[in-house]
């Protein structure tokens, strides 16, 4: 039976892991390869590297990071951040990434999804969506922005939830799948960083609409939240950062807990 996936997300700035694991004795917790090994040994099912490097001059550094990590760690690796063209996708895949995620670039030019998918296959194109409820006071409403009204309660935002787009989040996910995305990474800007749980309604609305796998992101504060995202939210995978990086829970603990609650998980293999 297909297992649910637990995916730690690492922020990479100029080739170094920032906000990385701070609680275990690693020689160099800023080294992406060392962090990738650590999470592989802990049982992570995939890894996401998010390139938060501000300057495009430093983008080549990320290609080197991907090449090194994929030479040493043999689990799937997704790279996001700064992917703006088919050429960017090619560089990352040739360096050893298995998937790339695109967010703002796909909103600006949805055809990028179709072009990259036709060139490399849908399986390596992840559409990352930042969504926010727009029915809360002070937000985008039919009254203050009649041009930006979602059909679902969620609109797509960019720039960390500051800028609304004209896209309904559920429709955009559907459209992205039609254009050739192979997976949706959905982050709720309402719950992200709050540690109060994922936006389950949002997850379910998207998971039950699109026919491609959905990764839930934003809001994990404990393991029950992950269970809810997978079971109630119908997500295929959960992405989490701080809950793992600061040692509140290990990936192995999370998987054992979710397995004990009856979800299919890949547990660590017994020693040979």
């Amino acid at each position: 039976m297909l297992a649910h996936r637990i995916i730690p997300c690492l922020d990479i700035d100029r080739g170094r892991v920032v906000k990385g694991v701070s609680f275990v004795n690693l020689r160099d917790a800023g080294d992406p390869a060392e962090m990738a090994r650590f999470y592989n040994e802990a049982g992570a099912d995939e890894l996401v590297f998010l390139d938060i490097t501000a300057s495009s001059d430093d983008r080549d550094t990320m290609v080197e990071v991907v090449r090194r990590v994929s030479s040493e760690v043999f689990i799937p690796l997704t790279v996001g951040g700064g992917i703006r063209s088919v050429e960017d996708v090619r560089r990352m895949l040739e360096a050893g990434a298995d998937k790339v995620s695109m967010n703002t670039a796909a909103i600006n030019r949805p055809e990028l999804i179709r072009e990259a998918s036709a060139e490399f296959g849908a399986q390596c194109i992840v559409l990352a969506i930042d969504a926010k409820r727009v029915d809360t006071p002070g937000d985008v409403t039919p009254e203050n922005r009649p041009d930006l009204v979602a059909e679902s309660p969620w609109l797509v935002f960019t720039h960390g939830g500051r800028n609304p787009t004209a896209q309904d989040a559920v429709k955009w996910a559907q459209h992205g799948a039609e254009l050739g995305a192979g997976e949706i990474l959905i982050t709720s800007m309402d719950t992200d960083g709050q540690k109060g749980g994922y936006d389950l309604e949002l997850l379910r609305a998207i998971s039950d609409t699109v026919s491609i796998p959905v990764i839930a992101s934003g809001g994990a504060g404990n393991l029950d939240h992950m269970y809810d995202a997978l079971y109630e939210g119908h997500s295929d995978a959960v992405l989490a950062a701080s809950i793992f990086h600061f040692g509140e829970y290990s990936v192995a603990e999370a998987k054992q807990y979710l397995s004990d609650r009856g979800l299919p998980m890949r547990l660590p293999t017994t020693s040979e």
Partner: protein, 228 residues
């Protein structure tokens, strides 16, 4: 140096598939002398070969055609030397695929067909395509009766899959392993020294590396027995 002591020479067939980097690094780690090449001559001089692949079937067959590799791959397979094929590489072994128009290599009888989309799996959920993630694999034979590449792998082990099309071998004996996804799905085929996995050993952590280690050792053993 005897054959047993030197590393077996394994060619990773380079048709510009995206997973070539990981495949070749994994095989090196597992003890192979790896050459990534689109050269038919190098292929025909290798002890073993690996046909990788992700993406679209037609694009891969077109690339193999442009590199004049289709006949050399068939010749290599007929020579009895181990040829391992991964993911799309496994699908290319069949005569054709519902995914594309170009004929495949035709080394294994059967069909390649798409997963049913919009198939309900209960509780409002639908079967997601691609089949993506770690799924448990059961082998069709007991350990001692398996091809050496799959020996020692416990039934129920998890491997990483990502595919929208799946293989239906005509001869049940060619189906070496299955997984479950909206029904039984062929996870591996074996026919003589054609060994293929629908999953990605190079993305399946320790279990995947165990398969590549078995493959490298098997290539070394068959190379040594040819010399004798």
């Amino acid at each position: 140096m005897s054959q047993q002591q030197s590393k077996p020479r394994i060619v990773v067939i380079n048709h510009r598939a995206a997973n070539i980097h990981s495949v070749s690094k994994a095989l090196e780690l597992c003890g192979a002398d790896v050459e990534v090449t689109g050269s038919a001559e190098a292929l025909l001089n290798a002890d073993g070969a690996l046909l990788p692949g992700v993406g679209a079937a037609d694009a891969a067959m077109r690339a193999l055609g442009e590199l004049n590799l289709i006949e050399p791959i068939r010749e290599f397979a007929l020579s009895g030397r181990p040829l391992m094929s991964v993911c799309l590489g496994m699908q290319l072994l069949f005569p054709d695929s519902d995914e594309g128009k170009l004929p495949g290599l035709g080394l294994i009888d059967g069909r390649v067909t798409r997963f049913d989309v919009d198939q309900s799996v209960g509780d409002g959920r639908i079967l997601k395509v691609p089949h993506m993630g770690w799924n448990s694999v059961n082998f069709t034979a007991e350990d001692e009766d398996r091809h050496p590449v799959f020996r020692g792998i416990p039934d129920g082990s998890y491997f990483y899959f990502v595919h929208s099309f799946h293989c239906l071998p005509s001869n049940p004996a060619d189906n070496a392993a299955t997984t479950e996804y909206g029904g039984p799905v062929c996870a591996a085929v074996v026919k003589g020294e054609l060994i293929a996995t629908q999953f990605h050993p190079e993305k399946s952590a320790d279990r995947g590396l165990q398969i590549y280690t078995n493959f490298v050792r098997h290539v070394a053993d068959t190379a040594a027995s040819r010399v004798v």
